[in-house]
C-alpha cells in the first residue's frame, strides 16, 4: 500500500520536520504516547506500582511461610508425638491490647502488668507444647514464635494495604507502601535469618551487653534477684561492684527494671552509680561494633524497664551512665558478628574508666548488661 498517497487526505501531517520523504505516520510515534499518557498515565503508573508491591507481598508471604514451617518443624523436634501446626497457627494470631493512653497517669504500671501477663501466657503456651522441655529449649521456641509472629503481622498489614489500594485504586495507599517496602523487606529478612540463629542457640548482636557482664560474673556467686535476672558482687579499686544480667544461656532479657527497684527500694542497697551496657542501632555510615558513651538508661523494649530504672535513679539521685555498642537491626537479631564480639575488650576498658573517673573509693556501682542473653552464660 502506498502510504504517501494518504497524505493528500490528511494535510495536517506534514511530509517531514526537516527532511523530505518522511512518511506522515512516523509522527504518530510521539503524538500517540502523549494522548496515551494524558488519559491513562496514572493508571499505567498505578499498574507499575501495584506490580512492584505485589512482588514484595509475595516475597513477604514466602518469608512468612518459611518461618511458620521452621517453627512447626522445631516444635515437632521437641514433641514428636503431637502435631503442633494448630497451636503454632493459633499463636501467630495472638495479640496484645495496649492500655488506654488518653489519661496517661499510671500507664506504666498498667503496661508492666500487661507485659507480664503476656509473657506468662506465651511461656505457658510454649510449655503446653511439651511440658518436660528444659528452659533453654523453651526460650528458643518462644524466640522463634515471636519472630514468626512479627513476620506474620508484617505480611498481614502489608497485604491489607495492598488489597485496599487495589480495591479503591488509591495511589495514596500503594505509593506509601512502595516507599516503605525496602525497610520492611530488610526487617523481614532479618527476622527470617534470626530464626536459624534462635534454633541453634547462638548469641545474637543484641546480647553483647549481657556477654560483657557475663564475663565479669565468671567464678562469682550468682543470685536470682528478679524473674530470669541474676546479680553478683565483686570489688574493683575500693568500690563494691554489683553485676546484673539476664540468666543465660536461655534466650531472655530478664527484668532489669524490677531487679533495680528491688535492690534499691526493698533490699536497701545504696547504689552510687549505675552503668548500663547495651547494643544500640547505628546510623547508616557508622561502623558496626563501634562504642559510644553517654548518660541515661540504655535499654530498649516497650519502655517499662527504662521507666523503672529512671524512676529509681531520679528518686535516689543516682547518675546513670550508658555505654552502647553500635549495630544495625539485622546485626542485633542475627548471630553476633565478629566486629561486635571483638568489642568486648574496648567496652570493658570503657566501663572501668567510667568507674575510676565518675566514682570514688567506697562507692557501690551497679553494672547492668542489657540485652537478650541467648547463647551467653555467666
Amino acid at each position: 500500500m502506498d502510504l504517501t498517497a494518504i497524505q493528500l487526505q490528511f494535510p495536517f501531517f506534514p511530509t517531514g520536520g526537516g527532511g523530505e520523504g518522511i512518511p506522515w505516520w512516523t509522527y504518530l510515534i510521539w503524538i500517540l504516547p502523549i494522548f496515551f499518557f494524558m488519559f491513562y498515565g496514572q493508571k499505567f503508573q498505578m499498574w507499575m506500582v501495584l506490580n512492584d508491591v505485589s512482588k514484595s507481598v509475595n516475597k513477604l508471604k514466602g518469608m512468612r511461610e518459611k518461618a511458620r514451617t521452621e517453627a512447626i518443624e522445631y516444635a515437632k523436634t521437641i514433641n514428636p508425638n503431637t502435631d503442633p501446626t494448630e497451636k503454632v497457627d493459633h499463636f501467630l494470631e495472638y495479640f496484645t491490647i495496649m492500655p488506654v493512653d488518653i489519661d496517661p497517669s499510671g500507664i506504666m504500671k498498667k503496661l508492666q502488668h500487661l507485659v507480664r501477663v503476656r509473657d506468662d501466657r506465651v511461656k505457658a503456651e510454649v510449655r503446653a507444647m511439651a511440658p518436660s522441655m528444659d528452659n533453654l529449649t523453651a526460650s528458643k521456641m518462644e524466640n522463634i514464635l515471636e519472630a514468626t509472629t512479627i513476620l506474620h503481622l508484617i505480611y498481614k498489614v502489608v497485604r491489607h494495604f495492598y488489597l485496599m489500594g487495589k480495591k479503591t485504586t488509591s495511589m495514596f495507599f500503594i505509593v506509601q507502601l512502595q516507599m516503605i517496602m525496602p525497610i520492611l523487606l530488610q526487617e523481614a529478612e532479618a527476622l527470617n535469618k534470626a530464626i536459624g540463629t534462635f534454633k541453634a542457640g547462638q548469641p545474637i548482636g543484641d546480647g553483647i551487653g549481657a556477654m560483657i557482664v557475663g564475663k565479669m560474673m565468671l567464678k562469682k556467686d550468682k543470685k536470682t534477684i528478679a524473674k530470669e535476672t541474676l546479680v553478683s558482687e565483686d570489688q574493683y579499686n575500693g568500690r563494691k561492684i554489683y553485676l546484673m544480667k539476664a540468666e543465660g544461656p536461655a534466650g531472655s532479657v530478664g527484668e532489669p527494671g524490677t531487679a533495680v527497684e528491688k535492690m534499691i527500694n526493698e533490699m536497701g542497697v545504696k547504689i552510687n552509680s549505675i552503668i548500663m551496657i547495651d547494643a544500640a542501632l547505628k546510623l547508616e555510615g557508622e561502623k558496626t561494633g563501634e562504642l559510644a558513651e553517654g548518660v541515661g538508661a540504655a535499654i530498649g523494649g516497650i519502655g517499662v524497664d527504662r521507666f523503672q530504672i529512671e524512676e529509681v535513679a531520679t528518686r535516689h539521685g543516682i547518675p546513670v551512665y550508658a555505654i552502647i555498642i553500635k549495630q544495625s537491626i539485622i546485626d542485633a537479631i542475627t548471630v553476633m558478628k565478629k566486629e561486635i564480639a571483638e568489642s568486648i575488650e574496648k567496652v570493658s576498658k570503657s566501663v572501668f574508666n567510667v568507674i575510676e573517673e565518675k566514682t570514688k573509693e567506697g562507692d557501690n556501682v551497679l553494672i547492668i548488661g542489657v540485652g537478650n542473653t541467648l547463647g551467653v552464660g555467666q
Binding site: 565468671l218 542475627t334 548471630v335 553476633m336 558478628k337 564480639a341 568486648i344 551467653v376 552464660g377
Partner: protein, 60 residues
C-alpha cells in the same frame, strides 16, 4: 536486598585455655554457648572456656 544477604555466615567458637591462655578457633557446634566449659586444650590439656561465638561473612 542488602549486600550482606548475598553473603553466607560461618559461625565460629573461640575457646581459651584457662591455664596456658591458648586460643583456638573452631566451627560452632550445637550446644555451644559463651562461657561454657569447652574441650581440652590441645597444648597443655588444661580446661578451656568458650569466650566468643561469632559469625564471619564469606562472599559466595
Amino acid at each position: 536486598m542488602s549486600e550482606e544477604s548475598k553473603e553466607k555466615p560461618m559461625v565460629y567458637t573461640i575457646e581459651e585455655c584457662q591455664q596456658c591462655g591458648l586460643k583456638t578457633k573452631r566451627t560452632f557446634k550445637l550446644g555451644d554457648f559463651v562461657y561454657k566449659i569447652g574441650e581440652f586444650c590441645s597444648k597443655c590439656k588444661g580446661s578451656t572456656l568458650i569466650m566468643m561465638i561469632y559469625a564471619e561473612y564469606l562472599k559466595t
